[in-house]
Each structure stands twice: as C-alpha cells, then as structure tokens.
C-alpha cells in the first residue's frame, strides 16, 4: 500500500509541475494548451544537456530554459499578436514534437535518435525523517525533483496569495482593465506569466527524462501536458487543488499498472480515462459556476 501511494506521488510529480505552470498562465488569462509542448521541450533540453555536460543540475536549468522558450513563442503569438490561445497551444505542441524529434535524430545516425543514457536520479531519503513510520516512505524518500515539486506547490500558493505580483497576476486574469487602471501593465503580466509557465512546465518535462526514464524518446510526454491541464481544471486553478487532482490521477495510473501486472489489461483503459472524465464531470457539474478566470482567452488591446 505504501509502495502504491509512493508510486502515485512519483507519477504525479511531472504532472504537478506542469499544472503549476499552467495555473500561472491561466490565472493571468491565457489558456495553457501548450503545456504538452513546454514539457516536451523541457524533457528534451534536460536530457541533451545533462548528457552532454554530464551534469544533472545543468540539465535541470536547461529544461527551464527550453520550456520558457516555448513560453516566449506562445506569449508573442497569443498576447502580442492576439491569436486564439487554444489553437496556438496546439500549434506549438505539434512544432515541439517535430522539433525535438528532428534534433534528437539529427544528432544520431541514419534517422535514429542519438542514444542518450542517463542514470535516473535516485531517491534522496531525508535523514531522520525518512525513517518515520508511514510518513517516512510516503513523503521523505523521493528523488530530488519530487521534493522540488512539493516545495514549488507551497511557494506557488504563497506567491499567488501573499505577494503583490501574485495579486496583480490573478487580477490580470480577472479584469485586465482594472489592473491597467491601478497602474499595472496587463500585457506584460500575461507575457511573463506564460513564459514562467513554460519554465515550470519544462521542469516537469525534466522529471520524465532525468528522474523517471533516463533518456529522451519521441513524444515522450504522451499527453501528460493535457493531463496536467485537466488536473488544474479539476483543482479549480489552485496549486493545492491541482496537486490533489494530480495525486488522484497518479493513483489511477499506479492502480492501472498494478492491474496489468495481475493480468487485467482491459480495465486499465477505463482507468486512464478517469482523469478526463473527472475533469469533464467537474466542468459540467459546475456549469456557469465554473470559476474560470473571467478574462481568460480574451485578447488585450
């Protein structure tokens, strides 16, 4: 049981980071459909850099830069050019999928991707705390990026609720005119939020390559960006809510893996559907009461 929950937390880690990024973007008023591409760019940059520099820290920094670069693209096209958020997100997702695969394969031979082999980051048990019964293995015996995700979730909550910049960001997603009237620059806020979203989602991608798989493969995010989007909806645009949703989704995934090992493959698809169905259910049951940021998707003059 402990193993199962710990697995759920590990599976939830990349989702949570991407969802945290998505919260920044959406609370500032830009739909975060590009999360998938941002994660993938981060995963790629992390793997290549960590491998080339033989340094995980460099990989982690590169993942932030890679995701942020995608964020810059999205920010320019949606905020400056006023294009539709959703379709722009789809476009960068296609672009990044192609670009990462192209670059990986260009570096390799005969159209095959360059062979990147990294030893996935191991768990860093926290001395003392990891020996606690129950809580120890659950919370204090994880690889570093998982701790980072948990810390990021707490920091994000504080940032949004307790800082002037966080307040301005949330206000931009609700009523950009009011932000302007109070002396702020809503366009700039949105652009920075989308770029920061890219950086954090890129970090989520790094979890996949540096901590879980140890290499980069084509399209390795496999829809996790969209899953992160679903989890921030279910979590109703709050970091803690999104974390809870990610954990539920992670648990569903872990449960599906268990089922498979017990030879019950059929139900695993239904389990995989659960996140999307839950997100739909939440949206549909709230209806007009869904508290989407009021100005989300609306371009600024």
């Amino acid at each position: 049981m402990m193993d199962f929950l710990a697995a759920a937390i590990r599976i939830a880690t990349p989702l949570l980071l991407a969802a945290l990024g998505g919260i920044l973007s959406e609370r500032a008023g830009v739909f975060a459909v590009g999360l998938e591409g941002m994660m993938l760019a981060g995963a790629f940059a992390a793997a290549v850099t960590a491998w080339a520099a033989d340094n995980f820290a460099a990989g982690i920094l590169a993942s932030i830069a890679g995701g942020a670069l995608v964020g810059v693209m999205v920010a320019i096209v949606t905020v400056r050019m006023r294009a539709d958020n959703m379709v722009t997100g789809l476009a960068v997702n296609i672009l990044v999928a192609g670009l990462t695969s192209f670059l990986a394969r260009s570096a390799g031979q005969g159209g095959r991707p360059a062979s990147i082999h990294l030893t996935p980051l191991a768990a860093w048990p926290i001395p003392g705390l990891s020996d606690l019964p129950i809580l120890g293995p659950l919370l204090f015996d994880h690889p570093p990026l998982t701790y980072l995700a948990i810390v990021a979730c707490v920091l994000m909550t504080l940032f949004l609720g307790r800082t002037q910049i966080g307040l301005t960001l949330r206000a931009t997603g609700e009523n950009p005119e009011a932000v302007f009237a109070s002396g702020g620059n809503p366009k700039l806020v949105r652009m920075l939020a989308v770029i920061a979203c890219g950086g954090i989602a890129g970090l989520g991608g790094a979890v996949l390559t540096l901590q879980q798989v140890g290499t980069f493969t084509d399209n390795m995010t496999g829809g996790r960006g969209y899953l992160a989007l679903a989890s921030l909806i279910v979590g109703r645009w709050t970091p803690v809510g999104a974390a809870a949703a990610c954990l539920v989704f992670g648990a569903a995934d872990a449960f599906g893996l268990r089922m498979q090992t017990f030879g019950l493959p059929a139900s695993s698809y239904v389990l995989q559907m659960a996140p999307y169905l839950i997100a739909l259910l939440v949206l549909a049951s709230l209806g007009r009461a869904t508290r989407l940021p009021a100005s989300i998707g609306r371009p600024l003059d």
Binding site: F31, V33, M73, I76, V77, M81, R82, A83, D84, M86, V87, T88, L90, A91, V92, N93, I94, L95, V96, A97, G98, L99, S101, F102, L103, R105, S106, G110, G111, D218, G223, Y226, L229, A230, I233, P265, A266, Y269, V270, Q272, M273, Y276, L277, A279, L280, L283, A284, S285, G287, R288, T290, L292, G297, D301
Partner: protein
Amino acid sequence: MRFAIARDSLLPRIALAVALSLLCAAALIALSGHNPFTAFAAMLDGAAGSPHQFGVALNKSTPYLLAGSGVALCFRAGVINIGAEGQIAVGGAGAAATALAWPIDSPLPAILLALAGGAVAGSAWAAVAASIHLARHVHEVLVTLLLNFVAVLLVQQALAGPLGEFGAGFLQSPKMPAPVWLPRAIPGLDAHPGFILGVVLAAGLSFLLWRTRFGFSLRVAGASRPAALYAGFSVARITWGVMLLSGALAGLAGGIEVLGVQRRLIEGFSLGFGFKAVTVALLGALEPLAVVPAALFVGLLEAGSLSMQRQVGVPSSMVAVIEGLTMLFVLAATVRRRTA
C-alpha cells in the same frame, strides 16, 4: 469571432506564412549539416515523383481534407471544435464495427454501410461534446479537447475487448472483410477514392457556407454573436448543425482510413490527424475548397518526408516542424488585430 479574417489580403499572408516556415525548415536542415535543396528535392520526389507516390500522398491527405473542411465550418461559426482527433478515432471504430458486425458480400453497399457507420459514430461523438457545451455552458474547446482522450481510450478499450483480434498480441481488430476494402479507384494512381470524395464534400460545404441560409447564419454567428441574435438566428441550432456535420466528416475520415489504408482498426491509427485537421483548416483560411490544396500540401509533405529521410538522411519529423511553424505563422499573420 476569434477568426474573423481580413479577406482581401488573406492569400498573400498565408503564402508568406508557408514561405517563412519552409525557410525556417531549410535553415534547420542546413544547420543539421544537410543541403536543404537536396532535401526538399528528395521530398518532392518522394511525394510526387511517381504515380504510386502521388497516390500515397493523396491517401495521406484524405483524412486531413475531410476532417479539416469540417473544422473550417465550425471555426467559421465561431465554434472552436478541436475534437476531430477523437471523432476520427471513434469514426474508424464505428466503420470497423459496422463492417465486422454486418458483413455484406457486394462491395458497394458494404462500403457505403461501413462508411455510414463511421460517419454516424463521429457525429454521435461530436453530439456528446455539443450537448455538454450547450447544456452546461462549458467552453467548447475544453469539452472537445478532453473528449479526444476519452475517445482514443474508448477505441483502445474496444480493441482490447469485443473489436480486438484474439491472440494478435497487439491492439488491432481482425482484417476487414474484403468487400469493404476501398478499391484503388483513381486511374493510374495507387489511391483510393477518398480524396475525390473529400473534394466533392468540400465543394458541398463551400456551397453550404456561401449559398445557403444556414451557411449565412453560421457566418454571421461567427462574426458577431449579438448580430446573430439580432438577425434572429439561433446560435444553439447553428452550433448543433456545424458540430454534427464536422463530426460526420471526421468520422468518415476515420472510416476511410480504416477501410482504405489499414484495412483493419489499429490502435493509434489516427494519432495526430485531428490536430492536423485544425492546421489545414487554418491554412485553408477556413474556406472548405481552399482546404483541398492545404490538405494536399500536408499530405505531400508527409509522403515525401520518408524518402527525404531515406535519401538525404534528414529526419522525417521535419514535417511536424513545418506544420507547427506554418500554423503559428498563419495564426500570427491572419488573426485580426483589433476589435474595432
């Protein structure tokens, strides 16, 4: 509303967007140590160098054409339906299930029945999205996006169960009965008639859009919701209309892919098709007839990419780069700047 486009200067802008993305692609190819001209030449050769190759390109274009013209119709109406991905998958499963459940010996009725099954399934999946959107006021993009994943998993579930081939070790259905195989019907080319059907349907959609009251009402709704209300058009009815139509077209695309290319339902057979349908719809400036060359462009790129990889060593994933860049550039170049 979000896609109100300045008609007069559209074609040059789109041409510029395509040129820019090809330029970026060329730069990337050069950076990866290859000659972009040789690479593009190899691509062109692979796409249209022989009747067989061109047939393959036509087959690849078909689902983009069918689903893309439906997406164009939706976007024209201001309904941002990005659910083609799921509707295509469900449509393929619908066609396969119909063909397997009701085998008919003579080809024409067998094919028509199976394709109808695909179209109905795609339409039904779009109806799920439309009803959640309209009844519960959930943003249509979120509904259609989320339902895509559910659809793909539903098809996998079906392949793992009733639709699957026993003991295949892979998620796929049994081979379709021979009568429902789409013939290689285009003379001289190794292509099924799907592309021609797509052109006919795109022409039909274009007629619907420009020559019928319904088409007019959906264009008004897309340009301004208050104007549609003032004109006395029901936005709900328009939404239902375009969603059901585009769902049917996407379902048909899935059915044709299953009957004409794979000849069985295979897991992930339509991966990315629906998102590319959005690309070609934008590239075709949301005009169904202009989606024809747009779909052909993407089909040719994809058909040619493999030979580019084989002959020159440039990875075929370059195609996705071109598609993504084109989409971004088209978005940046054509969306109107100010709500005047």
